[in-house]
């Protein structure tokens, strides 16, 4: 009896324990969403807005003080160089030539689909107060612990339509510099464009590029320089692209937007005896009022070019560009 009773009791207890244990809810386990096949956009719209707001504050502070040292927290690369030069110019000209306006309110966001660094996104801003063309801001985050910086900006040409791009919630694919499937690889695009800038219509690639205000302006400035130098010397300009574009973001139509940096060096060699009186801006940059033998201006250019997909009859189009003197030497 005792044994059987004990056994029964033990069995009963066991059953009860097991039953209670079975009733106890299991510990919840993390059930993360699956890793997406395509990386999500690098930032959310809110994050981009925050970045832009922060950038606006920084620019506002720098512009107010015309102090380029205030810019580094949010401005870097060509943008920092150009902005610094503009501050110099503004100071030299008693603010008659103020820094160009850079709106920081986004009209459109072109966000990269990436989870690596550096990350670059484009922001099409609203029109500035003077109703100039909108700017395309290039924001770059080089490292995880770095902030997004304004790497550069371009002033959109008049009446130039933006290619269709993916919504910011989706993000745009990031293409490699040598990505195929385009009329030209991103790297080649910059090379070809430089060639066109250099040779004009003589360039074999001239036909591939739609006319744009940037090239027109560069050519006009070059012509002006040449004419102003006249027989007093020679004026030459070279256009050199960076080895690789900063970034290339795909567009919805299969094309891409290539962001690149060019360096334009405008060299004026004066024949002996000739002098060039430098304007205040250059004077400020060089510390000299005149140039007797050579006058070299280095332009930092930011170009944002739309490259249609391969097989398309569309032309490559410079969407926006900035061309600004960032360094001057005079002898």
């Amino acid at each position: 009896m005792n044994r059987s009773m004990r056994r029964r009791a033990a069995l009963l207890v066991g059953i009860v324990v097991v039953g209670l244990a079975a009733c106890a809810p299991a510990l919840p386990q993390p059930e993360p969403a699956p890793v997406p096949a395509v990386a999500p956009p690098a930032t959310t719209i809110a994050q981009s807005d925050n970045v832009l707001t922060d950038l606006g504050d920084v620019l506002k502070a720098g512009d107010a003080a015309l102090d380029p040292t205030l810019l580094p927290p949010r401005v870097s690369g060509p943008a920092l160089a150009i902005r610094s030069a503009e501050y110099v110019r503004a100071k030299a000209t008693a603010n008659t030539k103020p820094p160009i306006a850079i709106p920081t309110k986004a009209q459109a966001l072109i966000l990269p689909q990436t989870d690596t660094w550096p990350r670059t996104q484009l922001v099409v801003t609203e029109q500035p107060d003077d109703l100039q063309a909108p700017r395309i801001l290039v924001l770059q985050q080089t490292k995880p612990r770095d902030q997004y910086h304004l790497w550069g900006w371009g002033r959109m040409g008049p009446s130039i339509p933006m290619p269709p791009t993916a919504a910011p919630q989706t993000g745009s694919a990031v293409l490699a510099p040598d990505a195929t499937g385009l009329v030209a690889t991103p790297t080649d695009t910059l090379v070809q464009y430089c060639d066109v800038l250099t040779k004009g219509s003589a360039s074999p690639y001239a036909a591939a590029f739609a006319p744009d205000a940037f090239r027109t302006g560069v050519e006009a400035a070059r012509a002006s320089t040449v004419s102003s130098v006249g027989a007093a010397g020679t004026a030459t300009e070279t256009y050199t692209p960076e080895p690789a574009p900063l970034t290339t973001l795909a567009t919805v139509d299969g094309g891409a937007i290539v962001v690149g940096q060019l360096t334009t060096v405008s060299t004026v060699l004066l024949t002996p005896g000739g002098t060039i009186k430098l304007d205040p801006f250059y004077a400020a940059l060089t510390g000299k009022d005149t140039a007797a033998s050579s006058f070299v201006r280095t332009f930092t250019d930011v170009v944002i070019i739309y490259v249609p997909p391969a097989g398309s009859t569309a032309l490559m189009q410079v969407l926006a560009a900035e061309h600004a003197v960032t360094a001057v030497t005079a002898d």
């Binding site: 919840p28 386990q29 993390p30 059930e31 993360p32 990386a39 989870d115 995880p144």
Partner: protein, 594 residues
């Protein structure tokens, strides 16, 4: 008591169930918030994707550091957090260790550059020395952590962040995607991280329990109510019947003969009563006057009211005393009168002349006749009928029979033999109920019918007829005989009923009761027989109306004598008691046979 206990138990169970249900929704209700935390560990904590959504929607992250250092909470995409943390040593929260503890996996510093670690260890040695006596490795580690714990606050990577001194709190509504939390203490101490999720706490047992409990309680209440109600009503209903009074009296006399009426019998009696009322009376009344002599008339006058006689029958039963009492009186002075009255009545009803002849003759003949008709019952019947008849004639025999006869005569006069019997039952029932003769007859009739109206009544009829035929061939007697038979029965019944009352007065009633009993049981027969002599009282009771004086014997004779006398006088025949007895027996037997 057991029933009540069970009911109470049901109610208690219901209350308990309700209580349990309520408790499940209150006291035992699960926590609304699931809180899990970490203790100690690295300065940088990172949650794996999915951990933030592990326990519910929104998660509330709280981090504290004991030294009031700066702590930062930030949430970003898992890749961003990973990117930000990089190769630093940190703790990764991978889930729940238990319900209140987070599982933390340490991730060592994978920084390839040795330089920082070296410097860290260098600085660490100092801090370590001060901080703890632990061996170099751990201090260096801690130092490394401290050294590399960069405050992530303000990074563009974060979607949400919070920074505080000593503590910080961040609420994170669930969002699509893979999100990670990074908690960094840039101070000297490790952060204590807690994650809290609201839990959807359901109370599935509340309402079912309450409903079931209420049902149980209601059930218990209903049962209790019903039980109580039954207890109250049950007694009232069960004990209402009037029979109670009658029964005990009867019992007192004869244990064996218990003329307890069944409800059905009562019902039937009622029906019978209601069935026939006035006619008899009218007839009787009419009858009595003519036959009665002056004395008889005088007697009759009282008798005139046949109803009275019936009452007497019933009342005889119930109020017999008076009748009985009267009976005795009647016998002596007015035996003749009563008899004459009865005779007159009967005669009046039918015809005086024939009866006398019949009654005397009829009595004896009736017996034979009945015999012929019904072997068992025949004799009894015969006797009964005869008894009654003779009883009527013979004072002694008549006791019961006489009364019966008298009644029967009325009844007969009224019509049905059944009527005759009716009085008896009626008397039983009626006796108590009222003095109305009518009512008694009904029962009797019913009884007679039940008993075997065919047998008894028929027998009686036949008897009567036979008697009639035997005696004079006139039917009048027959009816009388029948009535007598019935009456005999009736008397018995009456006596039975009335017996109680009568009992006190005289033994006569007993016999009567016996008869009545017999009528029902048929056993009484002997008794009646024995008591038959006494029965006269009841009979007398009827006559009693007339004569209040002595009871018992007198009435019997009187009653029996009244009729018999009337007849015999009319016909010049001497009264015979012998017949009376046989008659009673016969009646009993008849009834028995029934």
């Amino acid at each position: 008591m057991v029933k009540r206990l069970i009911i109470a138990a049901v109610g208690v169970v219901g209350l308990v169930v309700i209580g349990l249900g309520v408790a499940s929704a209150t006291v035992w209700r699960a926590d609304d918030v699931l809180v899990a935390g970490t203790a100690g560990g690295p300065h940088t904590l990172v949650t794996a994707p999915g951990v933030l959504e592990l326990g519910g929607d929104p998660v509330t992250v709280h981090v504290t550091v004991p030294d009031k250092g700066t702590v930062t909470l930030a949430i970003g995409r898992d890749t961003d957090v990973e990117g930000w943390v990089g190769t630093e040593a940190h703790g990764q929260v991978t889930g729940l260790q238990s319900w209140h503890e987070l599982a933390v996996t340490g991730v060592k510093d994978t920084t390839p550059t040795p330089a920082p670690s070296a410097s860290a260890s260098a600085s660490a040695s100092a801090s370590a020395a001060a901080a703890a006596a632990t061996p170099t490795p751990s201090p260096s580690k801690a130092a490394a952590d401290v050294a590399t714990a960069t405050d992530p606050a303000g990074s563009d990577l974060w979607v949400a962040q919070a920074t505080g001194k000593g503590s910080a709190t961040l609420e994170w509504p669930q969002q699509e995607g893979r999100w990670s939390l990074i908690a960094v203490s840039s101070g000297a101490s490790a952060p204590h991280l807690t994650l809290a999720w609201p839990r959807v706490v359901t109370t599935p047992w509340l309402w079912p329990s309450v409903v079931i409990g209420l049902l149980l309680v209601l059930l218990a209440g209903w049962l209790l109510y019903r039980d109580i109600r039954r207890h109250r009503q049950g007694l009232d209903e069960e004990w209402h019947p009037v029979t109670t009074g009658a029964v005990p009296t009867v019992l007192s006399q004869d244990i064996e003969a218990i003329p307890v009426l069944t409800r059905r019998q009562l019902r039937e009696a009622e029906a019978a009563r209601s069935a026939r009322p006035a006619p008899r009376t009218g007839q009787v009344a009419a009858v009595s006057p003519p036959l009665a002599d002056e004395q008889v008339r005088t007697a009759t006058t009282p008798v005139d009211a046949p109803p009275l006689s019936r009452r007497a029958l019933r009342g005889g039963v119930s109020t017999q005393t008076s009748p009985t009492g009267s009976v005795p009186a009647a016998p002596v002075p007015a035996p003749v009168a009563t008899a004459s009255a009865g005779a007159t009545a009967s005669a009046g009803a039918w015809t005086p002349a024939p009866r006398p002849a019949e009654s005397p003759a009829g009595a004896s003949p009736s017996a034979p006749a009945t015999n012929g008709s019904a072997p068992n019952g025949a004799q009894p019947a015969g006797p009964v009928s005869a008894g009654p008849v003779p009883a009527g004639p013979v004072p002694a025999g008549p006791h019961g029979t006489d009364g019966a006869h008298g009644r029967p005569s009325w009844l007969n006069a009224s019509g049905h033999a059944a009527a005759a019997p009716a009085p008896a039952p009626g008397s039983d029932e009626v006796g108590p109920s009222s003095s109305n003769v009518t009512s008694p007859p009904a029962p009797e009739g019913s009884r007679s019918a039940v008993a075997a109206s065919g047998a008894a009544a028929a027998a009686s009829d036949p008897d009567g007829r036979g008697v009639g035929s035997a005696s004079t061939g006139s039917r009048t007697p027959a009816p009388i005989g029948g009535s007598a038979a019935a009456g005999a029965v009736a008397p018995g019944a009456r006596p039975a009923a009335g017996a109680s009352p009568a009992a006190a007065s005289t033994p006569g009633p007993h016999p009567a009761t016996v008869r009545g009993a017999t009528a029902w049981d048929a056993r009484t027969a002997p008794v009646p027989g024995g008591s038959s002599a006494e029965p006269p009282d009841p009979h007398a009771g009827r006559p009693a109306w007339l004569a209040p004086t002595s009871a018992g014997v007198a009435p019997g004779p009187s009653a029996g004598g009244s009729r018999a006398d009337a007849w015999r006088r009319a016909w010049g025949l001497p009264p015979t008691e012998d017949e009376a007895n046989p008659v009673t027996d016969a009646t009993d037997e008849k009834e028995d046979g029934r």
